[in-house]
Symmetry: C2
Subunit: 356 residues, 2 copies
DNA sequence: GCTTAAAATTCGGACCGTCCGAGCTTTTTC
DNA sequence: GAAAAAGCTCGGACGGTCCGAATTTTAAGC
């Protein structure tokens, strides 16, 4: 069965393709009775007007095709509690979005919404006025609620784990797989007592993927000592040092680079006797080894998804929201001992998926 | 001065507009010397290619009409050890692939490769002869090695977790998230002693996501007893019953529906005193509650990915392989007690992403 | 060196949806 | 009743792409 087009609809209705196009675009040139006939026939034939294609054609027709760009909206949910780290991450994601959007012929408009930004009703109005149908939502603290937007006219991707209000396709780093790969890599380098410390708030919205991967691998990687996870609501030097001295991990994993000083205070010689890997490279400035979530690549991938949906006229809330993940990369650093006797490795590489 | 277009450039160069377009898009059809001439003339004339206009035109051009768009190859790696369950799963994925491919104007050819199927060199030859560039690889036991194919001419998606030989984009169910959702749902229904039994081989290729999610949630869902996971290499009734009687889980999660009989042998009244949820609905015929991985939807999503890559002419091994996941759905069954005092729920629904 | 076949290179029909001037029909005005 | 105005619909052309076809060039065989 052929894909319906304006021309096939026109033949079916005994009208010209111009009349059909005008009718579907709401042109006042067309008699209301004709408009209704056309809309009914389009619906019956499964024809959906593609606003992106229409916009491109319009500009081409006006001889402005060379300069025409689609527009993507990047929504940033801001609040008073937003940390500097979160801001850096969002900026890195935005960088990737911008670069990929330009590559694909789109411009990007960035909107701040929420407590200190635009209200959703106002945003709706602006997006409609500017003809923006594709949205990329930057990660927010907690669980954002955007259900106040007119979702039938948008397609969106959330650049983090799950969002339910409304459900969206998501793109983010694969924390679970990154932890698995990191642990295997550390094991290959001879570490046998890895220890994880984590503030529970940093893992909760990931459904505890850091911890889940860590606990699971403790059972399956041979000869690893089961160092208990330190998981306070808030990490302090005292709490950390008590844990460190009691369990003596040979490599520490965690979000806070300050841990390096805390380890030294306990007599650790880094990286000779103990190592440290930060779980988020955006919390470091190269002073320690870290996992790089490749935020720009996440932004780029989200952009590809959104523009793909625009091309296919896939608007509204998806019936089957999917999650697309990319692995993090290990950034070597002065706090991580290279393997005993092995050749130096390149500075950046994707986590191995399987040890064998 | 008029805006330069492909057509004006073509007239200036004494070439057709197709040659100019092909040259600027980097098509290998055009002689390199011609490409250089076109690029120089475009630059001199101030012609900038608009990637969005090109993409929209390309999309419209490829989406139209009644003619068939091509053939997708579905590769099934067969071996002597392939189980009936794996076969059912692959058939379900294939069903989804076929339906979506038909919807998108593609035909599907299924190939069996490996120990009892075609050799890779033979497959290469057949695919080339039939003009097949898009491949969907059905899940295999262990870690398949397909690096013997001529990957520069193919785009492929693997319908399972990670494959490295070569790296591919992957589509599969989200086992971790599904376990999280299941545990939260069970907790909401009043269960306080969930127990998991699993043969390690069934979790290993998932990087122990079943176990990782289970262990992580034991720490964070309130009032749950930490029933140790039963994780033998091979589950027997004796091993199971010893574990069951020792730890008394009030709901058992696992892959084997036979566990229901084993639980009854221990005096459990199902679902009154104890419940059971199978972790893979393809291992049941409705006789127990189970997680449905929605294999046909996974097949459909893989098909969308592959045809999208074909559309963009993205061939070869991806530089950033991604993983796309869909959540499993809980299928209610006679082995799962409904919540105390709550209204009956619909038979099928996606796992809640966050409990709050 | 000529002929034939294969490969390389280029071309052109047709597609998509839009704009806007033009054509046809209907209504209004004088 | 004729002319003008308004309402409604039409079609040429735009720009870039796909892909089968046509043309040109190169290679192989005698």
């Amino acid at each position: 069965m052929a894909t319906p087009t304006l021309r096939t609809l026109a033949r079916e209705l005994g009208l010209s393709r111009t009349t059909v196009s005008d009718a579907l675009r709401g042109s006042p040139r067309v008699k209301p009775e004709t408009v209704e006939r056309v809309r009914a026939a389009a619906k019956a034939a499964g024809y959906d007007r593609n606003p992106l294609a229409g916009a491109v054609m319009s500009f081409l027709r006006r001889s402005c095709g060379q300069k025409f760009r689609g527009v993507l909206g990047v929504l940033e949910i801001v609040s008073a509690e937003q940390s500097l780290n979160a801001q850096r991450y969002n900026d890195a994601v935005f960088e990737g979005v911008s670069a990929k959007a330009e590559q694909l012929g789109f411009k990007v408009d960035r909107f701040q919404i929420g407590a200190t930004g635009l209200k959703l009703s106002r945003l709706d109005s602006i997006l409609q006025t500017r003809g923006i149908n594709g949205l990329i939502v930057l990660p927010a603290a907690g669980f954002p609620d955007l259900s106040g937007l007119s979702w039938t006219r948008y397609t969106a991707v959330y650049v983090d784990y799950f969002v339910d209000s409304p459900p969206m396709h998501c793109v983010c780093s694969d924390h679970y797989r990154s932890m698995i790969g990191l642990l295997r890599e550390l094991h290959a380098r001879g570490f046998r007592r890895p220890g994880l410390f984590i503030e529970t708030s940093l893992d909760e919205r990931l459904h505890f993927r850091w911890e889940g991967a860590f606990l699971a691998l403790q059972h399956y990687v041979p000869e690893i000592s089961k160092v208990p996870i330190l998981r306070p609501a808030r990490v302090t030097p005292e709490v950390f040092q008590e844990w460190f001295e009691k369990y003596q991990p040979d490599v520490v994993l965690g979000h806070f680079p300050d841990a390096v000083a805390w380890m030294k205070r306990c007599g650790a010689k880094i990286p000779r006797t103990h190592s440290f890997v930060c779980l988020n490279s955006l919390r470091t400035q190269g002073e320690c080894a870290a996992l790089d979530f490749q935020a720009p690549q996440l932004g780029a991938r989200a952009t590809e998804l959104v523009t793909g949906h625009l091309m296919h006229s896939e608007f509204g809330i998806p019936s089957q929201p999917s999650l697309t993940t990319l692995p993090a990369r290990l950034l070597e650093g002065p706090t991580l001992r290279a393997s005993g006797g092995k050749a130096p490795r390149p500075a950046r590489r994707t986590m191995p998926a399987a040890a064998v």
